[in-house]
């Protein structure tokens, strides 16, 4: 039986040649990323093709997705944060669909790899830094200077604020990655118990117990998959809010 970690193994599907010593290949990870993007594009292009006043199933799904993210952006980043709507929406849909694709048995979970979530978090933080500096110049670094504090306290508080800022992309990426990785490992282990008990003679009577747990875990994993995408989007909005209004 496959071990609980084997599902995260990256396997090359088509080799595209070599750069330096390392092989460049189209992997199962890349395949599921392409699949996620294709599903999102299909959902929105196909769903909004009619533009009927009374939406059909797909159109209402697409509209719900848009409205949900738009409200999140307005609530967390303010109305002038709506210029980042395309970024937040793309991130949210990509993370959500990747998480959901990972819930299909046998599928590969793209977001269970730290490098993927770290790249997404780096995208967010670089957007915040570049936009913040481009718009506010050196005033952007007022983000690290809390207001209404005694100047002597700033000696301690400014480094703390800087570390707090640096920790943002790390917490952003590690949260998503760890949740997906731990959830899928737990799911695999409990599902493995069912099979092990079933073939363990008299112990087979106990095999429904982990089965029930697995079902509960699957429900929890669906919740986590949606929730993590939402948390990722909300935090992106909060960080973008800092880029838009650094002085507070």
């Amino acid at each position: 039986m496959a071990g609980p970690i084997e599902q995260f193994e990256i396997k090359p599907i088509v080799s595209l040649g070599k750069i330096g010593g390392s092989e460049i290949a189209f992997t199962n990870s890349a395949l599921f990323m392409v699949a996620a993007v294709a599903i999102i594009v299909l959902l929105f292009v196909y769903g909004t093709r009619n533009r009927s006043l009374v939406p059909g199933r797909l159109q209402s799904l697409a509209e719900m997705g848009y409205e949900f993210v738009a409200n999140t952006v307005k609530d967390s980043a303010g109305h002038d944060g709506m210029k980042f709507m395309p970024l937040v929406f793309s991130l949210f849909m990509f993370v959500l669909v990747c998480n959901m694709l990972g819930m299909i048995p046998g599928a590969f979970t793209v977001t269970s790899h730290l490098i993927v979530t770290a790249a997404l978090a780096a995208l967010v933080i670089l957007t915040v830094i570049i936009y913040g500096i481009a718009k506010h110049g050196s005033h952007f670094f007022g983000l690290f200077v809390p207001k209404g504090v005694h100047p002597l306290m700033l000696i301690i508080l400014v480094p703390i604020e800087v570390i707090s800022f640096v920790s943002r992309p790390i917490s952003l990426s590690v949260r998503l990655f760890a949740n997906m990785l731990a959830g899928h490992i737990a799911l695999k282990i409990f599902a493995g118990f069912v099979a092990t008990l079933l073939f363990a003679g008299g112990w087979a009577i106990l095999s429904p117990l982990p089965l029930v747990l697995t079902i509960a875990l699957i429900a929890l994993e669906f919740l986590v998959a949606g929730l993590q995408a939402y948390v990722f989007a909300v935090l992106t909005c909060i960080y973008l809010h800092d880029a838009l209004h650094p002085g507070h």
């Binding site: 999140t72 609530d75 967390s76 809390p146 207001k147 209404g148 301690i156 480094p159 703390i160 604020e161 570390i163 707090s164 640096v166 920790s167 943002r168 790390i170 917490s171 590690v174 949260r175 760890a178 949740n179 929730l227 993590q228 939402y230 948390v231 909300v234 935090l235 507070h248």
Partner: protein
């Protein structure tokens, strides 16, 4: 009782009755407006608070804290390696990282915002 009063006073002074009706209508209107404003404000407050709290919020807190310490420790290790200030960079930056982790959690829990708002309000 009121019906009887209306019957007895109605035919005698219709103008006064109209005036009283109008004033009642106005006060009702004002009351309705106040009530809808209140519920709207409540709905707005609820929608923002349910976004900033809840289960998604709970998931933030643990990683925010850990991330602060990891970054502090990592920076300390890097500073020690580059400058050769063996244990001191790690000690100082780990403690600062701990502080940053606490600050992250306090900020994520939404406690910081109201306090700074109060402060700036008091200063201005």
């Amino acid at each position: 009782m009121t019906g009887q009063d209306g019957k007895s006073s109605g035919p005698e002074r219709p103008a006064e009755k109209d005036a009283s009706l109008e004033s009642r209508l106005k006060s009702l209107d004002a009351g309705l407006k106040r009530a809808t404003n209140q519920t709207e404000a409540e709905i707005r407050r609820e929608s923002t608070s349910s976004d900033s709290s809840g289960i998604g919020q709970a998931m933030r807190l643990s990683t925010e804290f850990v991330a602060g310490i990891i970054v502090g420790g990592g920076l300390g290790w890097a500073v020690d390696k580059w400058l050769g200030t063996a244990p001191f960079g790690m000690i100082v930056l780990l403690m600062l990282g701990f502080g940053a982790g606490v600050m992250n959690v306090v900020r994520a829990a939404g406690l910081m915002k109201s306090r700074t708002d109060d402060k700036s309000g008091a200063q201005n």
